[in-house]
Symmetry: D2
Subunit: 336 residues, 4 copies
C-alpha cells in the first residue's frame, strides 16, 4: 500500500510526533510506502510531495511545528490558490495519479469538515484530530492541548510573583475563540482567582466583588485568566477590556498580558507526544484494515475511531457541570 499524509490548519505541538507515529508504523510494521504532502491540502493541488524513509523521521518526536508545513487552503471554499479550477476534482485526480491508497489528514475542526466531504466524494481518508483548543467533538483530548495548558500555566505562575509584589490584578488572555478549555485548565492549574470562558456568561459586578473580597481578606492581588473569545464591548481584546473594567469596578491597579502564539509552538509535553504517537499508529492500523472515512479519537485511555460524518460541524465546549468548574467554584474561584 501507498499512503499520503498531510497536516492542515494552525500550528500545534505534537504534529511531528503523529507524523512519525504514522510513518514508523506504516513502514516498519505494515510495509507501506508513505508520501509526505507539503502545505496541507495545497500540496494535493500542486503535487508538492516527498517520499518518506525512516531517516526522514529522525529527531522528529519532540520537535514543534510540522515538518510538512501547513496552509489554510480549504479546497471546498473560495479563496486560496488556483481559484479558477474545480479543486476537489483536481485533488481526487491527483491522488489517483500519485497512486495513493489513502490520505491521512492531521488537522482541526475545519480539516475534519474537509475530510468528511472528501470521504463523501469517495476518497479513502483517515483523519487525526489536532488542536491546542481541545474543541474537536468526539475525542476526549486532542494532542497539543496539554502543551498549550503547560505553557499558559507556566506564564500564570510567573505573573503571581509580580501580582503579589505589586499588589496588583494581573489579567492574562489565553487562546480559545469558542471553547474555554485552555483558560479553564491553565486557570485552575495556575491558581487563578477569576476564570472567564466564552461558554459561561459573566457579570463584571461579580468579578469585581471577588477581587474586593480577596482584598478584604488581606490578599490585595488577584490573577484573572480569560479566554480570547469571551464577550467584550466588541472593540477591545478580551484582556484589555477586562482589565479596564476591573480597574473601574475595584479601583485596583490592573495589568494585562496576551499570551499569543507562544501557546502554539515548541516541543510537545510527554503526554501529548504519547497521544500523538498512539493516534498515528491507530490511523495506520485503520488503513491496514481498510476502514476509511473515520477520525481517530481518545475515549478514556482507549484509542478508537468515529465516522467523520458524525464529527463534522460540531464543537466540544466547556459547560458549568464540568468537574473543574464545579470544583473551582467550591474553592471560591469566580467563573463569572
Amino acid at each position: 500500500m501507498r499512503i499520503g499524509i498531510l497536516t492542515a490548519g494552525g500550528d500545534c505541538p505534537g504534529i511531528n510526533a503523529t507524523i512519525r507515529g504514522v510513518c514508523k508504523t506504516a513502514i516498519n510494521h505494515y510495509g507501506m510506502e508513505v508520501i509526505g504532502i507539503h502545505s496541507g491540502f495545497q500540496g494535493l493541488l500542486t503535487k508538492d510531495v516527498e517520499q518518506f524513509t525512516e531517516k526522514s523521521l529522525s529527531g522528529l518526536l519532540n520537535l514543534g511545528g510540522t515538518m510538512l508545513g501547513t496552509s489554510r487552503e480549504k479546497p471546498f471554499k473560495k479563496g486560496g490558490i488556483m481559484t479558477d479550477v474545480d479543486k476537489p476534482s483536481l485533488i481526487m485526480q491527483n491522488v489517483k495519479e500519485m497512486g495513493l491508497d489513502c490520505v491521512v489528514c492531521v488537522g482541526g475542526n475545519g480539516t475534519q469538515k474537509t475530510a468528511a466531504k472528501f470521504a463523501d466524494l469517495g476518497l479513502n481518508i483517515v483523519s487525526i484530530p489536532k488542536t491546542i483548543d481541545n474543541d474537536i467533538w468526539g475525542t476526549d483530548i486532542s494532542f497539543g492541548f496539554d502543551s498549550a495548558v503547560s505553557i499558559a500555566t507556566d506564564a500564570i505562575d510567573r505573573l503571581h510573583s509580580t501580582a503579589s509584589s505589586h499588589k496588583r490584578v494581573m489579567v492574562i488572555e489565553v487562546m480559545g475563540h469558542k471553547a474555554g478549555w485552555i483558560a479553564l485548565y491553565s486557570g485552575m492549574a495556575g491558581g487563578g482567582d477569576v476564570i472567564l470562558v466564552p461558554e459561561i456568561p459573566y457579570s463584571m459586578k461579580k468579578v469585581g466583588e471577588t477581587i474586593l473580597e480577596r482584598l478584604r481578606k488581606g490578599k490585595p492581588y488577584s490573577i484573572v485568566v480569560v479566554a480570547e473569545g469571551i464577550q467584550t464591548d466588541g472593540h477591545k481584546r478580551a484582556a484589555e477590556y477586562i482589565a479596564q473594567e476591573i480597574e473601574y469596578e475595584t479601583g485596583i491597579e490592573t495589568r494585562e498580558t496576551v499570551l499569543g502564539y507562544i501557546q502554539r509552538g515548541g516541543s510537545p509535553t510527554p503526554s501529548d507526544r504519547n497521544i500523538a504517537t498512539r493516534m498515528g499508529g491507530h490511523a495506520t492500523e485503520l488503513i491496514a484494515n481498510g476502514q476509511f472515512g473515520r477520525m481517530i479519537a481518545l475515549k478514556g485511555d482507549d484509542i478508537v475511531s468515529i465516522p467523520l460524518g458524525e464529527v463534522a460541524g460540531k464543537l466540544k465546549l466547556v459547560n458549568e457541570e464540568h468537574d473543574l468548574v464545579v470544583q473551582g467554584r467550591r474553592m471560591g474561584i469566580c467563573f463569572g
Copy 2:
C-alpha cells in the same frame, strides 16, 4: 465538622495541591475546620498538628513536597516510634481527643492498606492516592505520575544529543520497583529504542540485536530506558547491569545514568495539579456526605471513589496488551 489531613509515604509532586484542594473546599464551601497532621501517621501518635486557615494555603498549588511533612511510620507494623504501645488504639484515642470527625490520608499503596485497617477499626477515613509510580490499583492515574514522566522524558531528551554525538548507547534507569509505568511512558515519549519494565521478561540477545540492527541502518547510537525493578544478576543496579550486558552483546560503548530522586521532587505539572485539586475536592465532598472508608479515584475523566477494602493489597501493573507497548512494538521498539 472538624477533619484532619495527613500525608504519608514517599515524596510526590502534587501533594501540596491536594492538601490545598481539601482545605479550600472544606473551609470555603463546607464550613469545616481543618487540622493539619504532621509527619504522616506519626503525627497521629504524637498529636503533632496545626490548625489550617486559608492563609496557610498561599503559594501551595505549585510547590513540590508536602508542607505537612511525611514519614514511613506504619502503625500496624513493627518499627518506627513508640514501639512499646498499641499504636492503632492510641491513634483511635487521639483522633477522638482531637475531635476529628474524619481523617484524610494522602498516600501510596502502603497508606491505602493502613487506611483500610483503620476503616475496619471504625475510624472515619477517606484516602487520596498519590504515587509517582502510578501503580495504585483502582485509579487510572495518580497525581505525581505525569510530573515524574515529564522529568524522566526531559532527561532522555538530553541523553539523545550525547548518544548521537558520541555514537554510544545510553542506558537510563528510572523509578519503578514493581511497575514499569514511568519507564514505559517516558521511554515512549523520549524516543527510547529499548524499554525494559519489570512486568515483561526480556532477553539480552534481543536487546543486543535491536541495537545492532540500528547500527546496520546507520544509527550507531541507541537509548535504552529501564525501570529500576527489572531482573538483573541480583547484585548490580538495573542500569549498570544492562549497560555491561549491552557492551558484551554489541561491543558498542555504553554509558548509564540513574535518574534517582529528582523524579520525585519539584513543582507538579498542570495536569497533576488539576487531578490533585479535584481529588482533594471530592474527598471533602465524600466526607460532607458521610461516605467513609473509601479511596478517591480517577476513571476516564471522572472522579469517583471505591471502597478501601477493594484497593488494599493490589497493584496496577503494565501488561503486554497495553496500547503503548503494542504501538511501540509496531514502531520497532524492543520491550525485551
Copy 3:
C-alpha cells in the same frame, strides 16, 4: 548594628535571593539585626516593617517577586501617599526612630536616584542594582536580566516552529523602553533574523529587504525581535506597528506577539541567583566597613562598589560597536 532593607520599583527575578544574601550575611557573619521594610520607600513613611530571622529566609533563594513587596513611591517627587508632608524629612526621622544604622535599597534607575538624594541628606545608604532591562549605569550586569533573556529566548524558540510551519513572519516585542539589551541578547540567542532596539535607528526598507532576501534563499519565514521602545508612528505598540509595516513592505503574512509581564516574574536563573547572592553579601560587607552612599556593581567577574552620585541619572545603552551587534551583522542579521 541594625540595618533595614527595602525593595523598590518593578518586579525582577532575584530580588528575594539578594534579600537572602544580605540577611544571611548580616545575621550569620556580622551579627547584625535586620529589619525588612515593606512596599519600598512607602514602608519607610509608614514604618511598615518586620524583624527578620534566619527562618524568614527559608525557600527564598529561587522564589520570584519580592517577599517585602514593592511600590512606585518616590519620596522626592509629587504623588504617592502622604502628599501633604515633607516625605524626605519624615523618612530621615523614621529611620532614626527605628534605630537603623543603614538602609539597603534594592532597585532600578529611579531607586538609585532616590538613594543618591538620601545619601546627600546624610542617610547611611547602600544600594543594590536590580533590573531586567540591564540599563543601570556602572554595573556590567544586573540580576534579573539573564532571567528575562531566558524567558524571552524560550518564547522566540517557540515562535520558530509556527513561523516555519506557516511560512510567516513572526514579530515578538520584548521589554526595553530606552535600552534594547533584552531584544539584543534574546534576539541573538533565539536566532532572530531582524533585531530592532531603541538605540539603533532602522529603515523599514532594509527590514523588508532582509525578509525578502530570505524568501529568495528558500526561507519563507522570519523572526523579528523588537524592543518595546523603538520608534513607531506614535500610536501603535512596537510589535503591531512593525508587523503592519512588514506586511506592507513584503506582502508576507505577519503575526505579532507582545511578551509582556511574564518577562518579569518567576524563579531566577542560577546565574541571576548567584549574582544576587554575591551583591547582597557585598552590600553587607560595605555596611560593616562603614562605607555608605555607594551602589554595588559587577565589573567583569568582580563585585565592586561605586559612589551613588556617579550612577544617578545615567543609563547604560546598546551601541553599534557592541560585540553582539557586530557579530550579528556579520551573520546577516538586520539591526535596521
Copy 4:
C-alpha cells in the same frame, strides 16, 4: 579561503551554536568555503567530511550535541584508529590534499593540547574552548558551563522538596573531576548547605557538624552538593561515600543522587548560545586576519585570543579566595 571545522572531546551544550557562528560568519561575511569534518580528529584521518551551505545550519542554534559528531581520537597518543600509521603526518597531508587553509578545533583541555602540537607542526589552526567543567585555562567562561549549572541547579531545586518533606540529607554528585566549578555554582544557586569541591580539602567532622547545627536550629534536612572528583576512600563514588559518612557522623537518614550525563546534553542556555556564537565569529575573524595558533577566550565581556602554547597543559581551578566561596562561608555554607 577554505576552512575546516571539527569538534572533539565530550558532549557540551553550545557546540552546534559555535559551528553555526563560524560557518555563517565565514560564508556570509568573509565569503569563505567551510568543510565540516566528522567525528573529531578521526575525520581528519579518514577524510570523512561534508561541504557546508547556509541550509546545513538551519535549526542548529538551540540544538544540543554536535551535528559533526565527535570522538576521543587523540592523534598524538597511542590507541584509537589506524594504530600503524604516523597519524600527525597523515593529518597534515590530508589537510593539504583537501585544500584547507585553516582548521578550527572546538574542544576541551585535551583538544587544546592537540591543537597546540599541530600548530607547532605548522598547521594553521584556531581553537574554540568548550567544556561544561569550565576548567580551561585562559578563558573566564567556556560555553556549556552555564547550561550544565542550570541543569544541576534544577535538580537541586527538586531535591529540596524531598529533603524537607522527609527530613533527610540529600547528597547530589555533579560533574567535575579536577575542577569543582559546577558544584560551586549550582551548589550556591541551589541553596546547598554543604558544597564539596576537589580543590578544597574537607573534614567529615565539619560536614557532620554543619548538618547537626541545622537540625538544632529546627531544619532537620540538608542538601549536600559534591563534585565527582573529591577525595573518597578510593572505592566508592563521591555521592555514595559522602552519604555513608554523613549517616555515620549524624545518624540522619541520607540519600544520594548522581546526576550524570544529563548535565552534558540538551539545548544550551541563551547565555551559552551567545558566547558560542561570538566565539565562532571571532575564530573566523582571526582566520581572515591570518592569525593562527590561537585559542579564542572570554575576558570580562570581551572576546580575545591567546596563543595555544600558553593554554596547553594548564587547568583553571576553584580556590578558596573565589568570591562565591567567600560569600558562601559568610552565609554559613560548609565547604569542608
